[in-house]
């Protein structure tokens, strides 16, 4: 009994002491976020209790072996039959799939109204309009979901959206078909991230081509170059299940494809859709067009007079690999950061085509829809 008390108290005290000794971490690689640093006490923050909250966050964030503890929790949950962790399904074959269980009806309705009226205006002005609504990975890879997953039915939802949005393209049908018919090892979405892969983007492009009465180049016409085999995405961070294997990222292009000049509005002009410096960093998805800028202007070597306004979220960044063959200029706008009136901008730039590209969950939760 004495030994038991000594061992337990000893381990406990040692661990407490260790917590004080180890140096602070500023950033967590696996969680992809900044950690709480030792808070400073001030009279106001003590009186309103916020100092104590920061202190507890600090203790939690800087806990010794924190990552191992978090991973242990996710693993035991999985062992107990839990189907999700941190808002992410623990799917089959190591897939961590973004959950989409509740539809924010009100916000979605508002966004639909705004987008539809803008697109109708554009249509009336004689511009070509399209809307690509991208399903989440869970919708495309239903067979990877845990049994009875409480997902909303996205295919039903898309059927409804078609009625409301001008130029609506059923991307999900193409993706689901590709998923069912393609080879087993193909990956349309990442296992550790909510984004689609370049291949996923290709099938959406195929559907987009069909909608415009074109035929997309066959898959075999593309070069596929591996960018990284060490990609751990946001689902990985959220789930906390650090035993999952990393993803592979690829670039897809045609040998004789159009060349590009990209202006991020930062003064310099670049010639590649890929910024490989991000492959050394945590947020590797930014290898595609550096992530999200308010406005990214892409001038291609194509000469057909078509000027495209692309209103989009981050899913578009892999999509432009294919899109660049069809337009002379592409103006990518991220409404979260773009502050100019879009109607005026369209006039100014003499836009001929308008394309909206959003993932359904992002779209229905976005609070920046106002034109």
């Amino acid at each position: 009994m004495k030994q038991k008390v000594i061992v337990i108290c000893g381990a406990w005290f040692l661990f407490s002491f260790l917590n004080l000794l180890i140096p602070e971490r500023a950033f967590s690689e696996v969680e992809n976020r900044y950690l709480q640093q030792r808070p400073r006490a001030s009279k106001d923050e003590i009186l309103d209790g916020s100092y104590m909250e920061q202190f507890e966050t600090w203790m939690t964030d800087q806990l010794v072996f924190r990552d191992d503890f978090v991973s242990l929790k996710a693993s035991t949950d999985q062992l107990l039959g839990r189907g999700d962790s941190g808002g992410v399904y623990l799917g089959r074959d190591g897939y961590l799939l973004e959950m989409f269980t509740e539809l924010p009806e009100e916000q979605l309705q508002k966004n639909l109204d705004e987008a539809a009226s803008f697109l109708k205006r554009m249509e009336e002005q004689g511009r070509t309009v399209h809307f690509l609504m991208i399903p989440t990975g869970a919708c495309v890879m239903e067979e990877k979901l845990p049994a009875f997953a409480p997902e909303i039915n996205q295919t039903e939802l898309f059927a409804k959206l078609e009625q409301k949005l001008p130029g609506f393209v059923h991307v999900e049908k193409e993706l689901i078909q590709a998923q069912m018919q393609g080879p087993l090892e193909q990956q349309l979405y990442y296992r550790t991230d909510h984004h689609w892969t370049s291949l996923g983007a290709y099938y959406a492009y195929k559907a987009f081509c069909e909608a415009r009465g074109k035929i997309a180049p066959d898959l075999s016409e593309y070069e596929i170059e591996v960018l990284s085999t060490e990609f751990y995405g946001t689902s990985y961070s959220k789930a906390g299940l650090y035993t999952v294997k990393p993803d592979t990222m690829t670039a897809m292009y045609q040998k004789d494809g159009a060349s590009v000049q990209i202006d991020y509005g930062t003064g310099e002009v670049e010639n590649s859709l890929y910024d490989e410096s991000f492959l050394e960093k945590r947020d590797k998805y930014r290898v595609y067009l550096k992530g999200n800028y308010p406005l990214t202007k892409i001038t291609t070597s194509v000469q057909n007079g078509k000027r495209l306004l692309l209103v989009k979220d981050s899913y578009a960044n892999t999509f432009v690999q294919f899109l660049k063959e069809d337009y002379e200029e592409i103006f990518m706008v991220d409404l979260r950061y773009f502050r100019q009136s879009l109607d005026e901008y369209v006039e100014e730039q003499e836009i001929t085509d308008v394309l909206f590209l959003y993932q359904i969950k992002n779209f229905s939760e976005d609070r920046n829809f106002a034109f």
Binding site: S16, M52, T60, R66
Partner: protein, 443 residues
């Protein structure tokens, strides 16, 4: 500060324990007093003043009661003490004008027990305000019980020993309590939150939800009590038991002897028996039951649902006293058990919803009275996600786990490994920073 926080586990507790073990005995109550004030102020930096006020006022009242013993003034002091305590409780808990100070329902009841017992001559008056302060503010039981009456630890306040046996048993209690809270109650809390938040309900979903709530509230509260009792032992105190497998009861009368025992004992000692208890005929007894359970109900909060909840149990208890108990004894054990569980579950539905209408709706869903499906596929998902844990929870709420532990976990090495495993799993859950409320802080 809550027990299931890293600040407590790795910062406050090691320091206070070492300080208490190293310091000479005469300083220990002072350390507990100051440490407890810090513990309380960490969560309630302003309201700590109310607790200090309460400490000083009750100390003074106790002194006045003793000083004027045998005269009217003594009685006036007693009444004044009760009025001040009930006044504090009434204002902060029921006026709805200010946020509720954590634990006020617990510490006002404890301080009241002191002045009443001094008046009755059951305990000697406490002349040392540090010792008294250590009793009132004692951090293990300060904010969620057990409600320790002064008479129960009066002797230990001035003379207690910390032995290796107590430390050993205290560690067991503490880690088992932490496990109940962090590993079981928090998960059941998540499930309850999911079920209660569903827009479309089903019969299965309603049962699953209330089962989760019943297990959550039991493991949350009894886990907290276990931790408090364990910490008490580590400091050399013996606190009374607060839960004794309430869900194996075969009647509601039995349930209330097993659930929140210290609150029941408090009302018994200071309300039920003074009103005549069961010694003045059936009718008076029934009236007393009604009064005590209405008080028990509103002790939990200002909401109507708590009053109804108390009334509900009062009616059941009165019925049991009149005829039901005799009937239950004749029935097979499992029928009596089933009756009790159903009655308790219905009680939790009333308890869980602030609005009575919502509670009634939930009950209707449970019995399929409304137009809802038997189950939806999402329910199966949650059943699969939480099923194993629910099973563990159900087993752990019976004496089975303890019996198995006593039989097979005798070896100290196994016990050590067991406690460390519980500890590591708890830290893992807390590090992942999921849902971590304490239900009884509301009361």
């Amino acid at each position: 500060m809550v027990f299931s926080s890293f600040t407590f586990l790795f910062f406050f507790l090691p320091i206070i324990l070492v300080a208490c073990y190293v310091a000479p005995f005469r300083l220990r109550n002072g350390i507990i007093f100051l440490g407890s004030l810090f513990f309380y102020a960490w969560g309630e930096p302003v309201y700590v003043l109310i607790m200090l006020f309460s400490t000083v006022v009750d100390f003074a009242h106790g002194w006045l009661v003793e000083r004027y013993r045998g005269t009217v003034k003594s009685r006036v002091a007693l009444i004044s003490s009760i009025l001040v305590n009930l006044g504090l409780l009434g204002f902060f808990k029921y006026s709805g004008l200010v946020p509720l100070p954590i634990g006020i329902s617990f510490y006002t009841f404890q301080t009241m027990s002191y002045t009443i017992d001094v008046y009755r001559g059951k305990v000697p008056v406490q002349k040392n305000i540090i010792d008294f302060g250590a009793y009132v503010t004692m951090f293990p039981q300060l904010i969620a019980g057990p409600i320790v009456r002064y008479s129960q630890i009066q002797k230990e306040l001035t003379g207690r020993k910390i032995t290796i046996e107590k430390l050993n048993s205290g560690l067991d209690d503490f880690f088992i309590g932490l496990g109940k809270k962090v590993l079981l109650a928090n998960s059941f809390g998540e499930l309850w939150k999911i079920c209660a938040g569903q827009e479309q309900t089903s019969i299965l979903g309603a049962w699953l939800g209330i089962l989760a709530f019943a297990l959550q509230i039991y493991f949350d509260f009894s886990g907290y009590s276990d931790m408090a009792i364990g910490l008490g032992k580590m400091l050399g105190f013996t606190f009374p038991e607060n839960f004794h497998y309430p869900y194996i009861s075969k009647s509601i009368t039995e349930f209330w002897r097993r659930w929140h025992i210290t609150l029941g004992m408090w009302f018994r000692e200071y309300v039920y028996i003074p009103l005549g208890g069961s010694r003045r005929g059936k009718l008076v007894q029934l009236r007393n039951i009604l009064i005590v359970w209405l008080l028990t109900g509103i002790w939990h909060g200002a909401g109507w649902n708590f009053l109804i909840w108390g009334l509900y149990f009062a009616i059941l208890l009165m019925m049991e006293k009149m005829f039901l108990l005799r009937l239950l004894e004749k029935l097979p054990g499992f029928v009596a058990h089933l009756y009790s569980l159903l009655a308790i579950i219905v009680g939790w539905v009333i308890f869980a919803f602030d609005s009575l209408i919502q509670g009634v709706k939930w009950l209707q869903t449970m019995i399929g009275f409304t137009d809802v499906p038997l189950f939806r596929s999402a329910d199966l998902y949650y059943l699969k996600s939480y099923g194993i844990l629910l099973l563990i929870g159900i087993l752990a709420s019976t004496p089975l786990c303890k019996r198995l532990g006593d039989a097979y976990l005798r070896h100290p090495v196994l016990q050590t490994a067991g406690l460390i495993a519980i500890g590591v799993l708890c830290f893992a859950n807390l590090a992942a920073g999921t849902y971590n409320p304490f239900l009884y802080f509301r009361f």
